[in-house]
């Protein structure tokens, strides 16, 4: 008997029911229903909530009026952090006017030597101050992972209340889910040496958010 058959046999015995086909149909019904658990009630506006939470997770935030202002904001941040004005970016933000901002950008997957990675995000979750990034040809996952500094452009129109809302948006806008959905909440951290929290364990040690379309 294969391992599969042995294990599933044991599981079926433990479950103690037969009517497999009927139960499978019921399970599929449950999947289709997508019912939600207890939902949080967020007080105040989504943008404010997102911002407060993101900052509490050690991200920094700058608000700009529109997308055209983003490259200059990136340039300002990079200069303020004394980082080289060279960025790797996801192709989905490559069409912005980078040349005039003074940063030199290249759109591709990130390499180990890249110091600054700039990405967009599919949406953001206000409840926890979290970014939702989808992997894809226009948004390689490495750009938000390998460089020490991750700058994300967050359109305020794409801020939803909860993770459940983010999933609903994903289903509505994309037919198929991507290989990787990455929820990012601030810089990478560890507390494994004497429970002392250190930022920048394996991923970025700085996460800077440029909020687009918010009053600053």
């Amino acid at each position: 008997m294969t391992a599969r058959d042995t294990i599933l046999g044991r599981v079926r015995q433990g479950v103690g029911k037969d009517d497999f086909a009927q139960r499978k149909a019921a399970a599929q019904g449950l999947l289709a229903a997508r019912s939600r658990g207890p939902q949080p009630v967020l007080s105040g506006g989504l943008v404010d909530r997102f911002r407060v939470k993101a900052e509490s997770l050690s991200s920094t935030v700058e608000a700009v009026p529109d997308l055209r202002a983003a490259p200059a904001a990136v340039a300002r941040y990079v200069a303020a952090q004394h980082l080289p004005p060279e960025i790797v970016m996801t192709p989905d933000v490559a069409s912005l006017e980078w040349a005039a901002s003074g940063v030199r950008g290249v759109a591709r997957a990130a390499h180990d030597v890249d110091r600054v990675g700039v990405t967009a995000c599919f949406c953001a979750v206000a409840e926890t101050g979290t970014l939702m990034l989808l992997s894809g040809p226009d948004s390689p996952a490495t750009v938000s992972l390998l460089p020490e500094t991750h700058i994300a452009l967050v359109d305020t129109a794409c801020i939803v209340a909860t993770m459940e809302d983010a999933f609903a948006l994903l289903r509505a806008e994309r037919g198929e889910i991507p290989r990787a959905i990455n929820f990012i909440s601030g810089p990478s951290r560890t507390g494994d040496i004497e429970q002392t929290i250190v930022l920048g364990a394996h991923g970025p040690c700085r996460v800077h958010l440029i909020l687009i379309g918010a009053p600053s």
């Binding site: 044991r10 433990g14 002392t196």
Partner: protein
């Protein structure tokens, strides 16, 4: 003897416990950690009120999700397998730890793997996967900082979410100096960022060069055949993004039906573990690298492991399968914080380990663990999926008695007591004598410093003396009044 039992040291619990209590370095590390764990969780749970949520409501929902899955686990496994395969992933099954090792080595050989980076997986500890890989000439590199530290020390993790909680900064420094080929320096907590940086740089090179990434899964989502991975360090993302092969090793009980169910559980898992409202990285991984993708594995394999889990279904211990491995039970356990995790002798420490170790390695191979409890139910009251841990430990003790596994002295004592309890007059007379005797042993402060017939019991503590009269005497006096 099961494969798991071979590696278990749980039978030596008492001896190991004694050692641990007398180890000042360990005690220092533990005393430092406990208030942090407890305080952070309490704060995280309290903050739920800001969003009109609360712990009890959420844990009822989490308990229901886990129960619903377990009640039809055969169906959910079938759906998961079907949908994971449809995304291009391979789904394999392993009856026990040895089979996990065989399968992973086989996959590694097929893809010419010489090095595998690993994100924390307790199941890989159950399976002794690192040993199996090393024997096959494949280098396993643990990449969670805590796991990296215990791997350098040649030890096992002592906590399921903070594997190196038992290590002091001096011990970590000595390990890093040795592994990274530099002299030992004097370190204070101000140096922890530098030490973390040093490990980051070493491990980054491993991430970039390993051909295989091995991870666990915090959950498997049936709806889409997806693995959910929750980490703070980002190592989970590294091992599932950079290598060309990704192997997910996880237990068959880890399934949840939908993304919505996952979202509900995520309100509880990080809060219960570290008090965080969310972990830094939550990755939902489905299938392999798609057309046009720049990164991601070309090959994704799920290994769904039984190793004793199926046997718990339909048993008095089924509730234990709800466990989401948050660590809250050990973080609130007075026994755990007196001994640390290694005393428990197998993969899982603390209250959940005291239940799982006997169940997965054989009740007869871990006789002390279900007794390693004060019965305070702190664990049960913080468990985010409402597992009645003390009741399960109690049930295991009953089973030890039913199967005649208790020592002869205890069995004899219980028989004697039963005989006595069946003779009320004699019982009253005896207990009266016993209470007077205890009173006579006590000093002026009402404390017994050396218990006559069981001096070991008072070796490290005093026994407060009883009132001087038996319950029967008090009851009678009260009825008269």
């Amino acid at each position: 003897m099961t494969a798991a039992a071979k590696h278990s040291q749980a039978m030596h619990f008492q001896a190991r416990a004694g050692e641990k209590v007398r180890n000042p370095v360990l005690q220092r590390a533990l005393q430092k950690a406990k208030p942090l764990f407890v305080g952070k969780r309490a704060k995280g749970m309290a903050a739920l009120a800001d969003d009109a949520l609360d712990f009890e409501t959420l844990r009822t929902a989490c308990e229901a999700i886990r129960n619903r899955t377990l009640a039809d686990l055969d169906v959910w496994l079938d759906i998961f397998e079907e949908r994971a395969k449809a995304t291009g992933a391979e789904v394999l099954w392993a009856r026990d730890g040895e089979e996990v090792g065989r399968l992973v080595v086989e996959i590694a050989r097929r893809h010419g793997v010489t090095k595998a980076t690993k994100s924390k997986s307790m199941l890989s500890e159950e399976a002794h996967l690192n040993e199996a890989l090393a024997e096959a000439g494949i280098r396993p590199v643990e990449t969670d900082l805590g796991e990296y530290i215990v791997q350098l020390a040649g030890e096992a993790p002592s906590h399921i979410i903070a594997p190196a909680v038992h290590k002091t900064i001096e011990e970590v420094e000595a390990l890093f100096a040795r592994e990274h080929g530099r002299p030992i320096e004097t370190r204070t907590s101000a140096d922890i960022p530098d030490m973390t940086r040093e490990a980051r740089e070493v491990l980054r090179q491993h991430f970039l060069t390993a051909e295989m990434g091995i991870s666990g899964a915090n959950f498997l989502i049936a709806e889409t055949g997806t693995a959910a991975l929750v980490t703070n360090e980002g190592n989970g993302r590294m091992v599932t993004t950079l290598p060309k092969v990704h192997v997910v090793v996880t237990g068959i009980e880890k399934i949840v039906p939908t993304f919505e169910d996952f979202a509900t559980l995520m309100r509880m898992l990080p809060r219960s573990a570290t008090g965080q409202s969310i972990s830094n990285y939550v990755s939902l991984l489905t299938g392999t690298k798609r057309e046009g993708d720049h990164d991601g594995p070309e090959k994704t394999v799920f290994i769904l492991v039984d190793n004793g889990r199926a046997g718990l279904l339909g048993s008095p211990y089924q509730d234990m399968l709800r466990c989401i491995r948050c660590g809250a039970c050990m973080n609130h356990c007075p026994v755990y914080f007196s001994l640390g995790g290694h005393a428990y002798g197998w993969v899982y420490p603390g209250p959940m380990g005291s239940v799982l170790t006997p169940l997965y390695t054989g009740i007869e191979n871990a006789l002390d663990l279900p007794h390693a409890s004060t019965g305070c139910n702190q664990c049960g009251s913080v468990c985010p999926v409402r597992i009645p841990l003390p009741r399960l430990m109690h049930r295991l003790r009953e089973e030890q008695v039913e199967r005649g596994l208790r020592p002869w002295s205890e069995r004899l004592a219980l028989k004697a007591w039963a005989w006595l309890a069946g003779r009320p007059a004699l019982y009253r007379w005896m207990t009266r004598r016993a209470v007077r005797y205890l009173n006579w042993l006590a000093d002026d402060d009402g404390r017994i410093r050396i218990l006559g017939m069981a001096p070991g019991w008072t070796a490290g503590r005093d026994l407060p003396v009883a009132s001087g009269r038996t319950f029967n005497e008090l009851y009678k006096a009260r009825k008269r009044a």
